[in-house]
């Protein structure tokens, strides 16, 4: 033991590094295999194959179980390409994966630290060797990155797997058949340079990302190798994620890479991004105008703000003879363009001393032909409206009405244009005798009859059929309803009718006892003038206790894109009056809406 300690101290003295290093690990590792948590210790941090060093897992490190439970603890030194979580072990230590370097660690007596039994009950890794060295490793040890550490293992079906491990990187350099140098930790991994660089005047700006390294990254070196000329380098401090290379040659392509550095060495270079420094484009001309002339277009513009251009370049598309034109002075240009060309695009770009460039501005125009005069006409198309009107006392022809429960077949009805009709019982304003509507088809809100009347007469008792004796029947016609749709949106429309309850003083019955048979009496149809109307009558609704007109029913409709025009609708009305209703003159309102 005394010798062990002496060797450890001597090793530290020879390389003049007495610091104690920490090797950190992150998350718990069972069973997939990230390293176990905690910080171990190692010292010194670098040396040679003849140096001894102390290397211990975190204080209190334990295996998931003790030796009796089958757990062992073992050391390993494997190539960094090998994930310690995937290591398996045999009696000699870690099993090589694909021929990769794989050995246990040896104490200074040359004894491999393998297959040790964790403490009874606790699973504690003990006794940790006081000192280790590389005196007994198989030489040569190739230069490169390795991992060393402690692992807990468990044999299952003849395979001894890793169940937990503590790891720290180590880098071997200056390898010869008999010697090498080591440094705990590893060179950083290569940074990742952002895909594009921002080119400026003699500058390139960029960003990069970089994973943490052990030992910590101390800085970065950005290198810009030009296609010709001197390489430019830039040193960045640890923690940097962006850079700005300056002093570059405008117009020259540079291959830019980033390297991360730590105390072990430099990372591989990042991906290479090529970019060429150039100043940003200068402003465009303003007030660009194109005035058509006879077989020409006169361009004019205002010079851009800022640096004065040396001239302008004017490109024409479709191209014309002489395009692109160079305007070395002034801010106008007359371009000969045949009036047969429907439209030409004119692009004006200020020119500057290289490497500066101007921003383009464009305008389109068409030249005139000989003898042409022009008058500009302005007109407004109104938004249009969807208007619902009715004509009191007017009906269109109606076909024979088929018999239905309580009703015999009703004869056809011829059109009536007497405009007499029946006066409404009430007007919107309460006045009696609403004037008849005589201005069809143009609605006049003042004259439009918003309130017509329908007199269904006196009910007749049903004397035959299943409803015999249960109802009185009445029938009639609605006043003709007209829809006028002039909206540009042409979203279609629906005319619904809803019957209120029929009431009398001291009694009422449901509007469901009213049914109807709608017909489209007239429609604009499709016309060359722009009507696109296809109006469809609603379904026949029979008087019923539940499905009559007490809820909205469709009188007529037109689909979206098929509503423009004028259409008129009629319907035969059928009413059943329950014999349970008290006697009297009932009133109700049939309300039409259009949406």
């Amino acid at each position: 033991m005394r010798k062990t300690l002496i060797r450890a101290v001597a090793g530290a003295a020879v390389i003049a590094v007495a610091a104690t290093g920490l090797f950190s690990t992150s998350a718990q590792a069972l069973p997939a295999g990230t390293p176990a948590a905690g910080a171990g210790t190692l010292s010194p941090l670098s040396g040679t194959n003849l140096s001894s060093f102390a290397f211990a897992p975190p204080v209190g490190s334990v295996c998931p179980g003790d030796g009796i439970a089958g757990y062992r603890w073992t050391t390993f030194m494997v190539a960094a390409s090998v994930d310690p979580a995937t290591l398996t072990y045999n009696a000699s230590g870690p099993v090589s994966q694909g021929g990769a370097y794989s050995l246990p660690l040896f104490n200074t007596s040359g004894s491999p630290q393998v297959a040790k039994t964790p403490a009874l009950g606790t699973g504690l890794l003990t006794p940790i060797p006081a000192a280790l060295d590389f005196a007994n490793v198989t030489m040569p040890v190739p230069n490169g990155a390795y991992n060393i550490g402690y692992a807990c293992t468990l044999a299952t079906a003849g395979v001894t797997n890793t169940t937990k491990f503590w790891v720290t990187p180590i880098t071997i350099t200056n390898s010869t058949p008999t010697t090498f140098n080591y440094a705990f930790g590893a060179t950083p991994v290569a940074p990742v340079l952002g895909g594009t660089l921002v080119a400026g005047n003699q500058s390139l700006d960029g960003t990069f990302t970089h994973a943490a390294s052990t030992p910590a990254t101390t800085g970065y070196t950005v290198t810009a190798v030009p296609s010709a000329g001197a390489t430019v380098t830039l040193s960045l401090a640890a923690g940097a994620t962006s850079f700005s290379l300056t002093g570059l040659v405008n117009g020259t392509s540079y291959a830019v890479t980033v390297v991360a550095n730590n105390s072990v060495g430099a990372s591989p270079a990042s991906n290479t991004v090529n970019s060429t420094p150039n100043p940003a484009a200068l402003p465009a001309v303003t007030n660009l105008a194109a005035v058509p002339g006879t077989n020409n277009v006169v361009l004019s513009w205002t010079a851009p703000t800022g640096a004065a251009p040396t001239g302008y370049t004017v490109a024409v598309s479709p191209t014309v003879a002489g395009s692109p034109f160079t305007v070395s002075s002034g801010t106008t240009l007359t371009v000969a363009v045949a009036c047969s060309v429907p439209t030409s695009a004119f692009t004006v770009t200020p020119t500057h001393v290289s490497p500066f460039v101007g921003t383009s501005a464009s305008i389109s125009a068409t030249s005139n032909c000989d003898g042409t005069v022009i008058q500009d006409i302005t007109v407004v198309r109104p938004a249009g409206a969807l208007v619902l009107t009715q004509r009191c006392g007017v009906n269109g022809p109606l076909p024979i009405e088929p018999a239905s429960p309580g009703f015999a077949s009703l004869p056809a009805v011829i059109a009536t244009l007497n405009q007499v009709g029946t006066a409404p019982t009430l007007t919107a304003g309460g006045a009696v005798g609403d004037p008849q509507f005589a201005n069809y088809p143009t609605p006049n809100p003042v004259a439009a009859a918003t309130h017509c009347g329908v007199n269904l007469g006196t009910g007749q008792l049903v004397t035959s059929g299943p409803l015999s004796g249960q109802y009185y029947t009445a029938n009639g016609l609605i006043n003709q309803v007209t829809v006028s749709d002039t909206r540009d949106t042409d979203t279609g429309w629906i005319v619904n009718g809803t019957m209120s309850a029929f009431t009398v003083v001291g009694g009422s019955f449901s509007g469901n006892y009213l049914g109807w048979s709608p017909v489209v009496t007239s429609t604009s149809g499709l016309t060359s003038g722009g009507y696109d109307q296809t109006a469809t009558a609603g379904a026949t609704v029979l008087p019923d206790t539940a499905t009559g007109l007490a809820t909205p029913k469709v009188l007529a409709s037109a689909a979206s894109g098929a509503g423009l025009g004028i259409a008129s609708f009629d319907a035969r009305l059928k009413l059943l009056i329950p014999v349970s209703a008290r006697a009297g003159t009932y009133n109700g309102t049939l309300t039409f809406t259009v949406v």
Partner: protein, 401 residues
């Protein structure tokens, strides 16, 4: 020498000591007993006594323990007998290393190599008698073997010779006239192990000799089969003896066991069994337990080695100064090297200087202890001691199978 229960107590005491040491000294190994880090061996009955001696103690006598080099930490050996010497029961449990599980004691060369092989391949060793299959990785470091191997193509295990033994027949005869037959020829041995009995005159009368079987995990069993050259009929030939007392085959080099068999046989019938001459010497000289003279067991001479050569008796002199006879030991038929078997990965791999300086080469710790080796009836091998030229495969199989 350490045996079962004693060793288990020591292991636990070491464990307690190690834990206390960790608590107060940060785990300094300087305070720990050497046995804590000693290499563990199991296996052959033949060489258990000499390996006990090389571990520091055998049968009440202290010896200077063999050690690895100073640079490698002067590590020592511990060696578990083939059977529990207190009970003679083969299948008892041992706990060879602190913090490790208990497992079945390997009995004999074959089982020693099996346990070592299971420590190498990680497939576990043990039976329900000792808690079931146990992972013995890191718990068995070497195996004692009284025989070599002929499978040189495989290199998993390296057989490292450290002494020269010889095997002849041990005999016991109760009753009758004229005593036992003390000399046989190899052809007579072949006949004996082929037919199961032999009638040979002792000068006074014809003596019926029956052979007894050695427990089959023994390296001596394997070797003795080669000597009598009737391995195919050995089991049938030894059945009569094996059935005596219902105790089956005899533990190797067990004079008491042979006497027990002979006492149960018909009066005047002589029982014989293969017996290590080195063991006979060690036991006769009192450095190993079980003095054959106590049980009236002798070791026989070979008057014809099968090629007409009279080898004579393998031992000479009188206890406690009995010595091996080199001419007999040198026989290619009756003489044999004895081995410690190590994983070749340790022998040929990096590091392991402790194991290497203990076992490998004529100047190793074991090979340097010539006085002890000779005291236990073995001839020193000189320059060939510690050779690593013999290799063989991992030995398959489980507990005493």
């Amino acid at each position: 020498m350490l045996h079962s229960s004693t060793k288990k107590r020591i292991a636990l005491a070491i464990a307690a000591s190690a834990l206390l040491g960790s608590a107060f000294s940060g785990g300094s190994a300087g305070a720990d007993p050497k046995q804590l880090t000693a290499f563990v061996g199991t296996g052959s009955d033949t060489t258990q006594d000499v390996m006990n001696a090389l571990s520091g103690h055998a049968n009440g006598v202290n010896f200077t323990p063999a050690q690895s080099s100073v640079a490698s930490g002067q590590r020592q050996l511990i060696s578990f007998n083939a059977t529990n010497i207190g009970t003679g029961i083969a299948d008892n449990c041992i706990t060879p290393k602190v913090g490790g599980p208990s497992f079945d004691r390997p009995n004999g060369s074959t089982n020693g190599m099996r346990a070592l092989s299971r420590a190498q391949d990680g497939t576990g060793w043990g039976s329900a008698a000792c808690g079931g299959l146990a992972d013995v990785s890191g718990l068995v470091d070497y195996a004692r073997s009284s025989s070599g191997t002929s499978n040189a193509a495989a290199t998993d295990l390296t057989f490292i010779p450290f002494g020269r033994d010889a095997v002849s027949f041990a005999y016991y005869r109760a009753g009758g006239a004229g005593g036992a037959v003390t000399s046989l020829t190899r052809p007579q041995l072949t006949s004996l192990y082929t037919t199961g009995s032999l009638s040979v005159s002792n000068g006074t009368e014809n003596v019926t000799i029956i052979p007894c079987g050695i427990q089959t995990g023994s390296g001596t069993f394997t070797f003795w089969n080669g000597v009598h050259a009737a391995a195919g009929t050995e089991n049938a030939a030894t059945t009569v003896c094996n059935l005596l007392g219902g105790t089956g085959r005899i533990q190797e080099h067990d004079a008491a066991g042979l006497k027990a068999k002979g006492d149960l046989a018909a009066a005047g019938v002589q029982v014989v069994v293969g017996f290590s001459a080195a063991n006979f010497v060690a036991k006769s000289n009192g450095v190993a337990i079980g003095n054959p003279a106590t049980f009236s067991v002798g070791i026989g001479s070979i008057s014809d080695n099968g090629a007409g050569v009279n080898l004579g008796n393998p031992v000479t002199g009188t206890a406690p100064n009995m010595l091996p006879v080199s001419t007999f030991y040198s026989s290619s038929i009756f003489g044999r090297d004895v081995y410690n078997v190590l994983p070749t990965a340790f022998v040929a791999g990096p590091g392991n200087n402790d194991l290497k300086t203990l076992f490998i080469g004529s100047t190793s710790g074991v090979c340097s202890a010539t006085a002890i080796v000779q005291q236990f009836g073995y001839l020193s091998l000189g320059a060939s001691c510690g050779s690593t030229s013999m290799t063989g495969p991992l030995r398959s199989g489980q507990v005493n199978a």
